[in-house]
């Protein structure tokens, strides 16, 4: 069972969306009413790896800012980038995931005040009327598609962005849960972006996510249906033969999709904030990530030394270019 119990804020228990979500959960899921999610989520330190045994699902309203400016180098250069907060936490378990050190609980929170999220997206859009395009990213704190069969969010945001022609919506995912997307008419401003790594790396570090082959299959299916697709080759992890693995990845993609049709490819090397690295050491004491020789950068992040990471990024970028991908479509994520 995915969720052992579902915690619902008392004052939203009668909302249609809440009832719809509850109706899609198994009957055996224990339902508990709570005053407010802030008093529960993060009020106590819950071990990250408890997500392996059972998770709570929390349905709540998020107050305050729901649309936030993305950090520098978050997306393609030249346009403003924002992310919107529709959920906290992820059902998957990737060893390098920053969420393990970000929240104090692995429980999943879904924010059901979608109308307010929509309003803030429109408000932000209207504040950038002079821009050619403005990006909105889903999936900063959760996978965009993993629970879409329960939340039915895709349908909602599809409709929101159909009315915002200059806005782009990015749905970041590692999920094979594309059933909802397959039913939706492709929209040029809604891009599904897959995080992808070489197969051996994905097997080592990504747990419960769609496999390498499943992700490529999804990319092909969505691409064939006309959905715009982007790629995040992130995190790139050093091994002496990492170049060959990325060449193989592009070969595998090439036989399935027209690479020139990809909207963008972002490249990023593995990196950790101090807190996340501490959690990595605690949660995965024998992870191969410990054999990586990281340095502590100007921003206190643990990552490869500058020469190594820039060299790695250039190597993968050169592989992209060797497959005739437009250099304008390749960008370095979270790098100067």
């Amino acid at each position: 069972m995915l969720f052992s119990s579902v915690l619902v804020e008392k004052n939203i228990a009668d909302e249609k969306l809440v009832k719809d979500i509850l109706s899609r959960l198994p009957d055996s899921t224990e339902k508990i009413e709570i005053e407010s999610f802030e008093k529960v989520f993060g009020a106590v330190k819950k071990p990250y790896l408890q997500k392996r045994e059972n998770l709570n699902l929390i349905l709540a309203h998020k107050k305050g800012k729901l649309v936030k400016q993305a950090p520098d180098a978050y997306g393609l250069e030249g346009s403003p980038h924002y992310y919107f907060v529709h959920a906290y936490n992820c059902i998957y378990e990737c060893e390098y995931c920053y969420l393990q050190g970000y929240f104090n609980s692995p429980d999943i929170v879904i924010f059901t005040n979608r109308d307010e999220i929509q309003n803030q997206i429109i408000e932000t859009y209207n504040n950038h009327k002079n821009e050619n395009e403005i990006w909105f990213h889903a999936g900063e704190f959760s996978d965009s598609l993993a629970l879409s069969h329960i939340t039915q969010e895709c349908e909602f945001y599809w409709q929101v962005f159909s009315k915002l022609p200059k806005a782009k919506l990015e749905l970041r995912t590692k999920s094979a849960n594309i059933k909802a997307l397959k039913k939706l008419k492709p929209q040029s401003n809604v891009i599904v972006s897959y995080s992808l790594s070489p197969e051996f790396q994905l097997k080592s570090y990504d747990r419960k996510t769609a496999t390498y082959k499943q992700r490529i299959k999804c990319i092909k299916e969505l691409s064939d249906l006309g959905h715009p697709v982007g790629l995040h080759l992130d995190p790139i992890i050093y091994t002496p033969d990492f170049k060959q693995h990325y060449e193989q990845l592009f070969e595998d993609l090439k036989v399935n999709i027209n690479l020139q049709k990809l909207c963008y490819i972002s490249l990023g090397v593995v990196r950790f904030s101090k807190d996340v690295y501490a959690q990595l050491e605690k949660n995965y004491p024998t992870s191969n990530l410990h054999q990586q020789n990281f340095t502590t950068g100007f921003d206190q992040k643990k990552r490869y030394s500058r020469p190594l990471r820039l060299w790695m990024l250039n190597q993968v970028k050169n592989i992209c270019l060797s497959y005739d991908i437009d250099p304008q479509k390749v960008y370095l994520c979270m790098e100067e």
Binding site: S5, L7, E30, I32, E33, I34, E35, K39, V40, A43, V44, K45, K46, P47, Q50, E53, N104, Y238, P285, T286, S287, N288, H290, Q291, Q292, N293, T295, T296, G297, F298, S305, R306, P307, L308, R309, L310, W311, M312, L313, N314
Partner: protein, 349 residues
């Protein structure tokens, strides 16, 4: 030796009958058998914390007992419908309530377990209180969190097994166990005997890399020791070998001949880093190759972590001749080459 703890004497009655305990005069409620100790902690977070701290200090510091595990047993209340009355649960995570609607952030965790438990600040006699706590845990007691906390501070493995005597809330009988005390205690005792038979013990998670390695010939600061341990551990994981094997891959004779001792430590750490990441050695060698013709009294420095592209040149001028030398040197100084290496030059990696 193990330590068993119970909040009330009634919960421990079957144990007290079955084992041949001797009370310890120094602390009321502490008993000794041939292979373990038993402690009656009293009810509530604060009394239990005081009692467990006294017991652990006494056993560890005065009697020099090596306690291997602390097992807390007893009865508790159910908070969620999925909980079965009369069943004994292994507790996974332990939380505590500071005051009504306010939780202690710190939590403690056992090495095994299926359900979570919260230690409440007072008996849970209303549904409102029960509902609030049920968002955090399946079970409620009054002490376990304090016991887990003390065990962690004394670095003793902690496990917790609780039998559900009642459901908390409006209909609770305040966990009054007087009438059924013997029945509950019998069940707990039978469960404990099963545990003993299965020899369930805490898994040892941390495998220390501090084996019999001798670094007495090195001058190692605390932070260097920390770094050395981490690098050794990483190398052990990377090569699936022992720390002894890892060190055998380094030019230890060369390192050990360096003077002073501080230099030996730096070299040891550097060589370990290079073993894990040969790229770093290539970069350092490339940088040193570029600046190898630097005059003796000039010192070219770069960020050892290569994050900063700035190059520092340090020298003291004593003569016009040196000034001219500096001008000549700076004219051809390979700044671009150095910065290109720092920015990931292909040939340097």
């Amino acid at each position: 030796m193990k330590l068993l703890s119970f909040a009330h004497k009634n919960e421990a009655s079957s144990f007290l009958e079955a084992f041949n305990y001797t009370p310890l005069a120094e602390l009321k409620g502490l008993f000794k058998s041939h292979d373990h100790f038993l402690l009656i902690t009293g009810e509530g977070q604060i009394p239990a914390l005081g009692q467990i701290n006294k017991a652990l200090s006494l056993l560890i510091y005065k009697y020099q007992i090596q306690l291997t595990e602390h097992i807390n047993m007893g009865i508790c209340g159910g908070l969620r419908e999925s909980i079965e009355l009369g069943k004994i649960y292994r507790v996974r995570s332990l939380y505590a309530e500071k005051s009504f609607n306010h939780m202690q952030f710190q939590s403690y965790h056992t090495n095994q377990g299926d359900v979570d438990l919260v230690s409440s600040y007072e008996r849970v006699k209303s549904d409102k209180h029960k509902d609030m706590l049920s968002a955090f845990a399946h079970l409620v007691d009054r002490e376990a969190w304090s016991l887990a906390r003390a065990s962690q501070e004394f670095k003793i493995d902690f496990n917790c097994y609780k039998m559900v005597s009642d459901f908390a809330g409006n209909d609770t009988n305040c966990f009054n166990i007087q009438e059924q005390a013997h029945k509950f205690s019998d069940k707990l005792y039978d469960f404990y005997k099963q545990l003993e038979d299965q020899n369930i013990s805490a898994d040892t998670i941390v495998k220390s890399t501090e084996s019999a390695l001798d670094f007495s010939n090195f001058h190692i600061t605390a932070s260097q020791k920390n770094k050395l341990d981490k690098l050794l551990q990483s190398a052990c994981i990377a090569f699936s070998k022992t720390p002894e094997w890892v060190l055998a891959q380094l030019p230890m004779n060369e390192i050990e001949n360096l003077k002073p001792a501080k230099k030996r430590t730096s070299a040891l750490l550097f060589e370990l880093e290079c073993l894990l990441n040969p790229v770093k050695k290539n970069i350092v060698q490339s940088m040193n190759e570029v600046i190898k013709n630097t005059p003796k009294n000039f010192h070219v420095n770069y960020d050892p972590e290569f994050e900063n592209t700035e190059i520092n040149i340090k020298l003291s001028l004593h003569s016009e001749k040196q000034k001219q030398e500096l001008a000549n040197y700076l004219k051809d100084f390979p700044l671009n080459k150095l910065q290109s290496i720092i920015n990931g030059d292909e040939n340097a990696i």
